[in-house]
Subunit: 135 residues, 2 copies
Protein backbone atom coordinates (compact mmCIF):
# COMPACT_ATOMS: atom_id res chain seq x y z
CA UNK A 1 0.00 0.00 0.00
CA UNK A 2 2.97 2.32 0.43
CA UNK A 3 3.91 2.59 -3.20
CA UNK A 4 5.95 5.64 -4.08
CA UNK A 5 6.04 7.73 -7.21
CA UNK A 6 9.62 7.93 -8.41
CA UNK A 7 9.02 11.50 -9.50
CA UNK A 8 8.00 13.07 -6.21
CA UNK A 9 9.96 13.62 -3.01
CA UNK A 10 9.87 10.29 -1.17
CA UNK A 11 10.01 11.97 2.23
CA UNK A 12 6.95 14.07 1.43
CA UNK A 13 5.11 10.98 0.23
CA UNK A 14 6.03 9.01 3.35
CA UNK A 15 4.95 11.90 5.58
CA UNK A 16 1.64 12.47 3.84
CA UNK A 17 0.79 8.76 3.88
CA UNK A 18 1.44 8.73 7.61
CA UNK A 19 -0.31 11.94 8.64
CA UNK A 20 -3.17 11.53 6.19
CA UNK A 21 -4.47 8.30 7.69
CA UNK A 22 -8.04 8.34 8.91
CA UNK A 23 -8.25 9.82 12.46
CA UNK A 24 -4.53 10.56 12.69
CA UNK A 25 -4.95 14.30 12.15
CA UNK A 26 -7.61 14.54 14.82
CA UNK A 27 -5.57 12.39 17.19
CA UNK A 28 -2.57 14.68 16.73
CA UNK A 29 -4.79 17.70 17.27
CA UNK A 30 -5.87 16.30 20.66
CA UNK A 31 -2.40 15.13 21.75
CA UNK A 32 -0.86 18.51 20.93
CA UNK A 33 -2.86 19.86 23.87
CA UNK A 34 -1.05 17.52 26.23
CA UNK A 35 -0.71 13.87 27.27
CA UNK A 36 -3.91 11.87 27.54
CA UNK A 37 -5.07 8.45 28.64
CA UNK A 38 -6.61 5.99 26.21
CA UNK A 39 -10.09 6.58 27.62
CA UNK A 40 -9.70 10.35 27.37
CA UNK A 41 -8.67 10.07 23.72
CA UNK A 42 -11.64 7.82 23.03
CA UNK A 43 -13.90 10.38 24.67
CA UNK A 44 -12.51 13.36 22.76
CA UNK A 45 -12.46 11.64 19.39
CA UNK A 46 -15.86 10.13 20.12
CA UNK A 47 -16.44 8.56 16.75
CA UNK A 48 -13.38 6.29 16.77
CA UNK A 49 -13.68 2.72 18.02
CA UNK A 50 -11.31 1.14 20.58
CA UNK A 51 -9.61 -1.02 18.03
CA UNK A 52 -9.04 1.73 15.50
CA UNK A 53 -7.65 4.08 18.15
CA UNK A 54 -5.37 1.38 19.49
CA UNK A 55 -4.11 0.64 15.96
CA UNK A 56 -3.44 4.32 15.22
CA UNK A 57 -1.58 4.79 18.51
CA UNK A 58 0.59 1.73 17.83
CA UNK A 59 1.43 3.04 14.36
CA UNK A 60 2.36 6.44 15.74
CA UNK A 61 4.44 4.79 18.47
CA UNK A 62 6.24 2.70 15.84
CA UNK A 63 6.97 5.90 13.91
CA UNK A 64 8.36 7.60 17.02
CA UNK A 65 5.60 10.22 17.02
CA UNK A 66 3.78 9.08 20.16
CA UNK A 67 5.21 7.68 23.38
CA UNK A 68 3.29 5.38 25.73
CA UNK A 69 4.23 6.32 29.26
CA UNK A 70 3.43 4.44 32.46
CA UNK A 71 3.00 6.99 35.25
CA UNK A 72 4.01 5.40 38.59
CA UNK A 73 0.91 6.46 40.51
CA UNK A 74 -1.56 4.35 42.52
CA UNK A 75 -3.11 2.86 40.52
CA UNK A 76 -0.61 3.18 37.68
CA UNK A 77 -1.76 5.39 34.86
CA UNK A 78 -0.92 4.87 31.20
CA UNK A 79 -0.62 8.03 29.17
CA UNK A 80 0.06 8.80 25.55
CA UNK A 81 2.28 11.75 24.80
CA UNK A 82 3.83 13.25 21.71
CA UNK A 83 7.58 12.93 21.24
CA UNK A 84 9.69 15.78 19.84
CA UNK A 85 8.98 14.39 16.39
CA UNK A 86 5.26 14.45 17.18
CA UNK A 87 5.28 17.97 18.63
CA UNK A 88 7.09 19.11 15.51
CA UNK A 89 3.80 18.44 13.69
CA UNK A 90 2.19 21.42 15.42
CA UNK A 91 2.73 23.71 12.38
CA UNK A 92 0.94 21.16 10.18
CA UNK A 93 -2.07 20.97 12.50
CA UNK A 94 -2.04 24.77 12.89
CA UNK A 95 -1.97 25.28 9.13
CA UNK A 96 -4.94 22.93 8.67
CA UNK A 97 -6.87 24.68 11.47
CA UNK A 98 -6.17 28.09 9.96
CA UNK A 99 -7.24 26.98 6.49
CA UNK A 100 -10.37 25.30 7.88
CA UNK A 101 -11.34 28.46 9.72
CA UNK A 102 -10.96 30.57 6.61
CA UNK A 103 -12.44 28.26 3.99
CA UNK A 104 -14.63 25.48 5.34
CA UNK A 105 -18.35 26.07 5.15
CA UNK A 106 -20.00 23.42 7.24
CA UNK A 107 -22.45 20.88 5.89
CA UNK A 108 -25.87 21.93 7.28
CA UNK A 109 -26.19 18.56 9.02
CA UNK A 110 -22.95 19.13 10.89
CA UNK A 111 -23.69 22.80 11.51
CA UNK A 112 -27.05 21.90 13.08
CA UNK A 113 -25.41 19.55 15.58
CA UNK A 114 -25.20 20.71 19.20
CA UNK A 115 -22.83 23.64 19.50
CA UNK A 116 -20.48 21.92 21.97
CA UNK A 117 -17.90 21.24 19.27
CA UNK A 118 -17.86 24.88 18.12
CA UNK A 119 -16.21 25.94 21.37
CA UNK A 120 -13.32 23.67 20.46
CA UNK A 121 -12.49 25.69 17.35
CA UNK A 122 -10.80 28.36 19.44
CA UNK A 123 -8.47 25.79 20.93
CA UNK A 124 -7.65 24.53 17.49
CA UNK A 125 -6.62 27.99 16.35
CA UNK A 126 -3.01 28.52 15.35
CA UNK A 127 -0.55 28.38 18.23
CA UNK A 128 -3.16 27.57 20.86
CA UNK A 129 -3.13 23.87 20.03
CA UNK A 130 0.63 23.61 20.18
CA UNK A 131 1.19 25.43 23.41
CA UNK A 132 -1.47 24.28 25.84
CA UNK A 133 -0.07 21.57 28.11
CA UNK A 134 -1.99 19.98 30.91
CA UNK A 135 -0.78 21.58 34.17
Amino acid sequence: MNRHSQQLCPRFQTAINLIGKRWTGMLLNVLLRGPARFGELLERLEVVGDRMLSERLKELEAEGIVERRVVPSHPVRVEYELTDKGRALAPVVDAVAKWAEAWIVLDPKVAQAPKAAESDCDEAKPHAAARVKRA
Copy 2:
Protein backbone atom coordinates in the same frame (compact mmCIF):
# COMPACT_ATOMS: atom_id res chain seq x y z
CA MET B 1 -18.25 7.92 6.74
CA ASN B 2 -18.11 11.58 7.69
CA ARG B 3 -19.08 11.19 11.32
CA HIS B 4 -18.04 14.06 13.54
CA SER B 5 -17.01 14.12 17.16
CA GLN B 6 -19.17 16.63 18.97
CA GLN B 7 -16.20 17.61 21.08
CA LEU B 8 -13.81 18.73 18.41
CA CYS B 9 -13.97 21.66 16.00
CA PRO B 10 -16.20 20.51 13.13
CA ARG B 11 -14.36 22.68 10.62
CA PHE B 12 -11.03 21.09 11.53
CA GLN B 13 -12.58 17.63 11.22
CA THR B 14 -14.11 18.43 7.83
CA ALA B 15 -10.80 19.83 6.59
CA ILE B 16 -8.69 16.93 7.79
CA ASN B 17 -11.10 14.36 6.32
CA LEU B 18 -10.83 16.15 3.00
CA ILE B 19 -7.09 16.78 2.86
CA GLY B 20 -6.16 13.48 4.47
CA LYS B 21 -7.65 11.33 1.74
CA ARG B 22 -5.30 8.97 -0.03
CA TRP B 23 -3.38 10.79 -2.82
CA THR B 24 -4.96 14.17 -2.12
CA GLY B 25 -1.85 15.58 -0.40
CA MET B 26 0.37 14.52 -3.26
CA LEU B 27 -2.08 15.84 -5.81
CA LEU B 28 -2.16 19.23 -4.05
CA ASN B 29 1.63 19.21 -3.92
CA VAL B 30 1.78 18.82 -7.71
CA LEU B 31 -1.01 21.31 -8.50
CA LEU B 32 0.60 23.98 -6.29
CA ARG B 33 3.36 24.11 -8.91
CA GLY B 34 0.87 25.15 -11.55
CA PRO B 35 -2.02 23.90 -13.72
CA ALA B 36 -1.65 20.46 -15.21
CA ARG B 37 -3.43 18.16 -17.63
CA PHE B 38 -4.89 14.84 -16.51
CA GLY B 39 -2.11 12.89 -18.22
CA GLU B 40 0.57 15.06 -16.62
CA LEU B 41 -0.91 14.47 -13.19
CA LEU B 42 -1.04 10.74 -13.83
CA GLU B 43 2.60 10.85 -14.87
CA ARG B 44 3.77 12.81 -11.84
CA LEU B 45 1.79 10.80 -9.31
CA GLU B 46 2.76 7.62 -11.14
CA VAL B 47 1.25 5.18 -8.66
CA VAL B 48 -2.34 6.42 -8.91
CA GLY B 49 -4.74 4.78 -11.35
CA ASP B 50 -6.92 6.70 -13.84
CA ARG B 51 -10.09 6.06 -11.92
CA MET B 52 -8.72 7.05 -8.54
CA LEU B 53 -7.22 10.26 -9.93
CA SER B 54 -10.46 11.12 -11.69
CA GLU B 55 -12.41 10.52 -8.46
CA ARG B 56 -10.05 12.68 -6.41
CA LEU B 57 -10.20 15.52 -8.94
CA LYS B 58 -14.00 15.41 -8.96
CA GLU B 59 -14.10 15.56 -5.17
CA LEU B 60 -11.72 18.50 -5.11
CA GLU B 61 -13.77 20.23 -7.81
CA ALA B 62 -16.96 19.67 -5.80
CA GLU B 63 -15.21 21.22 -2.79
CA GLY B 64 -14.14 24.26 -4.82
CA ILE B 65 -10.44 23.43 -4.41
CA VAL B 66 -9.70 22.50 -8.01
CA GLU B 67 -11.06 24.01 -11.21
CA ARG B 68 -11.32 22.15 -14.50
CA ARG B 69 -10.48 24.59 -17.26
CA VAL B 70 -10.91 24.11 -21.00
CA VAL B 71 -8.15 26.01 -22.77
CA PRO B 72 -9.38 27.16 -26.22
CA SER B 73 -6.37 25.94 -28.17
CA HIS B 74 -6.20 23.63 -31.18
CA PRO B 75 -6.84 20.95 -30.14
CA VAL B 76 -8.57 22.10 -26.96
CA ARG B 77 -6.65 21.33 -23.81
CA VAL B 78 -8.24 20.48 -20.47
CA GLU B 79 -6.30 21.62 -17.46
CA TYR B 80 -6.76 21.29 -13.74
CA GLU B 81 -5.88 24.29 -11.64
CA LEU B 82 -6.17 25.22 -7.99
CA THR B 83 -8.73 27.84 -7.03
CA ASP B 84 -7.98 30.47 -4.35
CA LYS B 85 -9.29 28.02 -1.77
CA GLY B 86 -6.89 25.40 -3.13
CA ARG B 87 -3.90 27.72 -3.28
CA ALA B 88 -4.62 28.65 0.34
CA LEU B 89 -3.54 25.10 1.18
CA ALA B 90 0.08 25.96 0.33
CA PRO B 91 1.01 26.52 4.00
CA VAL B 92 -0.33 23.05 4.84
CA VAL B 93 1.72 21.38 2.11
CA ASP B 94 4.74 23.51 3.06
CA ALA B 95 4.44 22.50 6.71
CA VAL B 96 4.27 18.81 5.79
CA ALA B 97 7.29 19.17 3.47
CA LYS B 98 9.29 20.94 6.17
CA TRP B 99 8.42 18.32 8.79
CA ALA B 100 9.21 15.50 6.37
CA GLU B 101 12.60 16.98 5.58
CA ALA B 102 13.47 17.30 9.27
CA TRP B 103 12.07 14.05 10.60
CA ILE B 104 11.42 11.37 8.02
CA VAL B 105 14.04 8.67 7.73
CA LEU B 106 13.34 6.73 4.58
CA ASP B 107 12.55 3.06 4.49
CA PRO B 108 15.66 1.39 2.96
CA LYS B 109 13.51 -0.01 0.12
CA VAL B 110 12.38 3.49 -0.79
CA ALA B 111 15.81 5.00 -0.24
CA GLN B 112 17.35 2.46 -2.64
CA ALA B 113 14.97 3.43 -5.40
CA PRO B 114 16.42 5.44 -8.29
CA LYS B 115 17.40 8.91 -7.15
CA ALA B 116 15.09 10.72 -9.58
CA ALA B 117 12.56 11.45 -6.87
CA GLU B 118 15.17 12.96 -4.55
CA SER B 119 15.61 15.93 -6.86
CA ASP B 120 11.94 16.70 -6.31
CA CYS B 121 12.49 17.32 -2.58
CA ASP B 122 13.97 20.74 -3.27
CA GLU B 123 10.85 21.76 -5.13
CA ALA B 124 8.73 20.57 -2.25
CA LYS B 125 10.63 22.80 0.18
CA PRO B 126 8.68 25.55 1.94
CA HIS B 127 7.61 28.38 -0.35
CA ALA B 128 9.04 26.86 -3.51
CA ALA B 129 5.96 24.69 -4.03
CA ALA B 130 3.55 27.57 -3.64
CA ARG B 131 5.29 30.03 -5.89
CA VAL B 132 6.45 28.16 -8.96
CA LYS B 133 3.95 28.62 -11.77
CA ARG B 134 4.35 27.16 -15.19
CA ALA B 135 5.60 29.93 -17.45
